[in-house]
C-alpha cells in the first residue's frame, strides 16, 4: 500500500512541476516554423477530416446513439432473459488478491469519472461551456492519472490469462450462455471471452487513450519526437490523437457499460468478487468451467458438488 501511495505521490508531483508560464515559442512545433507544415498539410490532410467529423457533431451524436442502443439491449435482455442467480450460500473460490482488487478498484473509480466527463465535454455546448465543463475537463485529467497508475498491475497480473484460447470461439458462438435462461457450464477459463475482449479494449486501448490524451494535454511537446518517428507534422499528430481518442473513447464507453451491466445486474452479485476477492463456487463452476477444472486438477479446491447437478464440459 505504501508503495502505491508513494507512486501516486510521484506521479502527481510530476504533473505539478511548475512549467514556466511563458514558454518561448520561437522554435515551437505548432506555432513557429512548424506552422508552415500545418498549412501545407491542411488541405486533404487530417485537419479537413477532423473538421468534417467534429463539425457535424458525429462524435457527440455517435456516442449518445450507441449508448442508447446498448442500454436498450440491456433492457430487452433484462426483461426477456433476466439476470442469472447463483447460490451465494455455497463454498467460495478465492479469485482475486489484494493488489488485483485495489488496482481494479482504482481503475473502476477513474472510469466512472472518465466516461461521463468525456461525454460532457463532447456535449460541451449543451452544458453551456465555461466553468462547469472546464471543471469536468480537470476531473478527466486527474482521473487519467489514477487510471494510469492502475493499468500496470492489471497488465502484470492478467495479461497471460487474457490471451485468447480456442474455446473462446465456442463461448462467442453461444454468447456465454447469456441469451438463454438455462444455467449450464460454458467454455471459459478464469476469464471468459467477453472479459478478454473487454481487457483488450480497456488496457491496450486505455494506454492508447492515455497517450493520445497526453498528446492533446501537452500539445506542443518537444521532448518526445513523436512527430519525427511518425514522419508527420506535430499538428497532424494532434489531429490523429483527437480522432483516435474520440472513436476509441466511444468504444470504451460502450464496453464499460456492458461490464457494469454484467457485474452488477446480469450476474447477480458478481461484483463482490472484486470487493472481497471470492467468487461463488456455482458461478465458477458454470461461468468459468475450465478454470474450475484447472483448480481441481491442481488440488487448489475440492471436487464440487455441482458436478452432480450440471454436466461437465470436455
Amino acid at each position: 500500500m505504501r508503495v502505491i501511495l508513494a507512486f501516486i505521490a510521484c506521479v502527481m508531483s510530476a504533473f505539478a512541476l511548475h512549467l514556466p508560464d511563458g514558454t518561448n515559442q520561437y522554435d515551437s512545433n505548432v506555432w513557429a516554423a512548424g506552422r508552415v507544415e500545418n498549412i501545407k498539410g491542411y488541405e486533404g490532410g487530417m485537419g479537413e477530416i477532423f473538421t468534417f467529423i467534429q463539425g457535424n457533431n458525429y462524435f457527440a451524436y455517435g456516442v449518445v446513439a450507441i449508448i442508447l442502443a446498448v442500454i436498450g439491449a440491456f433492457i430487452l435482455h433484462f426483461l426477456i432473459i433476466g439476470p442469472k442467480h447463483f447460490s451465494h450460500d455455497g463454498k467460495k473460490v478465492y479469485a482475486f488478491d489484494i493488489v488485483e482488487r485495489i488496482s481494479h478498484g482504482i481503475a473502476a473509480l477513474s472510469w466512472v469519472i472518465l466516461v461521463p466527463t468525456g461525454i460532457i465535454m463532447m456535449w460541451g455546448s449543451s452544458f453551456g461551456g465555461g466553468a462547469f465543463v472546464n471543471f469536468m475537463q480537470d476531473l478527466h485529467v486527474i482521473a487519467t492519472v489514477f487510471f494510469t497508475i492502475s493499468v500496470f498491475p492489471m497488465i502484470f497480473y492478467w495479461t497471460i490469462r487474457m490471451l485468447p484460447a480456442v474455446y473462446d470461439i465456442r463461448w462467442m458462438f453461444i454468447v456465454g450462455g447469456y441469451l438463454s435462461k438455462k444455467k449450464r457450464p460454458v467454455p471459459a477459463g478464469k476469464f471468459n471471452a467477453g472479459q478478454k475482449a473487454w481487457y483488450w479494449v480497456a488496457i491496450p486501448g486505455g494506454l492508447v487513450m492515455i497517450a493520445t490524451g497526453a498528446a492533446m494535454y501537452f500539445l506542443d511537446f518537444k521532448a518526445v519526437p513523436v512527430a519525427d518517428w511518425l514522419g508527420i507534422s506535430q499538428i497532424e499528430v494532434l489531429r490523429w490523437s483527437v480522432i483516435i481518442h474520440n472513436i476509441l473513447g466511444i468504444v470504451c464507453a460502450v464496453f464499460f457499460l456492458v461490464h457494469i451491466y454484467m457485474a452488477a445486474i446480469a450476474i447477480h452479485g458478481a461484483i463482490w468478487s472484486m470487493v472481497n476477492g471470492y467468487k461463488e463456487e456455482e458461478e465458477v463452476y458454470v461461468l468459468h468451467h475450465y478454470w474450475y477444472q484447472e483448480l481441481v486438477s491442481k488440488n487448489k479446491i475440492p471436487v464440487s458438488d455441482y458436478e452432480k447437478v450440471y454436466d461437465k464440459l470436455k
Binding site: A16, L19, G55, G124, G128, V133, N134, V141
Partner: protein, 210 residues
C-alpha cells in the same frame, strides 16, 4: 456604416514581395495587447530560408476565415463571426480543449499555460484588434482578456498600422484586392489575381473546405 457582404468582409493580406521579415507586426501585437510571453498571435514565417530567389517571408495570424473551421469544431460553440467577417470568441465559455487549433489551417489559436498543473488556459488568438464578445466594449476587463479594441475606436489593427513596408494589409476585401492589383501592375510581376495567390486561396477561398 457600410453594408458587409462577401466582397467587403474585413481581411488580412500579406504581400510577400514587400515583407522584409522585420517582425515589427508581431512585436507591435505583443506590446499593444500586453500578451503573456508564451502567446504570440501574429508571427512572421520565412519559407525556403537561404534559397536564393525562393526565400519569402510572410506574416501569419488568424486569417478570419469565411467558413472558420475553428468555429465549426468548437464543442462549446464559443465563436462569433461578426457580419464584417471578424472571427471572435468568448474566453469565458472556452474550455481550452484545443479543437480549434486542430481544425485551423494556420495554427492560429494559442494556449497560455496556467495553474499548478500547467493546464491549458482559454484559447487566445488574433481578434483583428476587435476585442471580445459578450463583454463591455473598451472596458478594462475587455483589455485584460482580449487586448485593445482598436476597431471600436475606428483604428486599423496595430500590426498593419505599423508595418513599415505596408506589406501587411487589412481592410475590406475589395479594397485590399484593388491595392494589391495596383501594386502588381506597377511592379510588373506577381500573381495578378489575388484570389489565385496561395495565401488567399487557403485562407479565404474555401467553399469546399468542409
Amino acid at each position: 456604416m457600410s453594408e458587409f457582404n462577401q466582397n467587403n468582409r474585413l481581411k488580412f493580406y500579406c504581400d510577400n514581395d514587400r515583407c522584409i521579415d522585420c517582425n515589427g507586426c508581431a512585436v507591435a501585437c505583443d506590446e499593444a495587447h500586453e500578451l503573456p510571453i508564451g502567446v504570440r498571435r501574429r508571427r512572421v514565417i520565412t519559407l525556403n530560408e537561404g534559397v536564393i530567389g525562393k526565400e519569402v517571408s510572410t506574416s501569419i495570424a488568424c486569417m478570419h476565415c469565411e467558413d472558420a473551421p475553428c468555429s465549426l469544431v468548437c464543442p462549446v460553440d464559443c465563436f462569433v463571426i461578426r457580419p464584417d467577417g471578424i472571427v471572435l470568441h468568448d474566453k469565458e465559455v472556452c474550455i481550452g480543449c484545443g479543437y480549434c487549433l486542430y481544425a485551423c489551417p494556420f495554427g492560429a489559436p494559442q494556449f497560455p499555460r496556467e495553474g499548478v498543473f500547467g493546464a491549458k488556459g482559454s484559447m487566445d488568438k488574433c481578434t483583428m484588434c476587435a476585442g471580445g464578445v459578450n463583454i463591455q466594449t473598451n472596458s478594462e476587463h475587455e483589455f485584460e482578456e482580449y487586448g485593445q479594441n482598436r476597431i471600436a475606436e475606428g483604428k486599423v489593427p496595430v500590426c498593419a498600422a505599423m508595418c513599415s513596408t505596408k506589406a501587411l494589409l487589412v481592410g475590406e476585401s475589395d479594397i485590399i484586392e484593388q491595392i494589391y492589383l495596383d501594386r502588381v501592375s506597377a511592379r510588373g510581376y506577381g500573381v495578378k489575381n489575388i484570389k489565385e495567390s496561395p495565401t488567399w486561396k487557403i485562407a479565404y477561398y474555401t467553399k469546399d473546405r468542409v
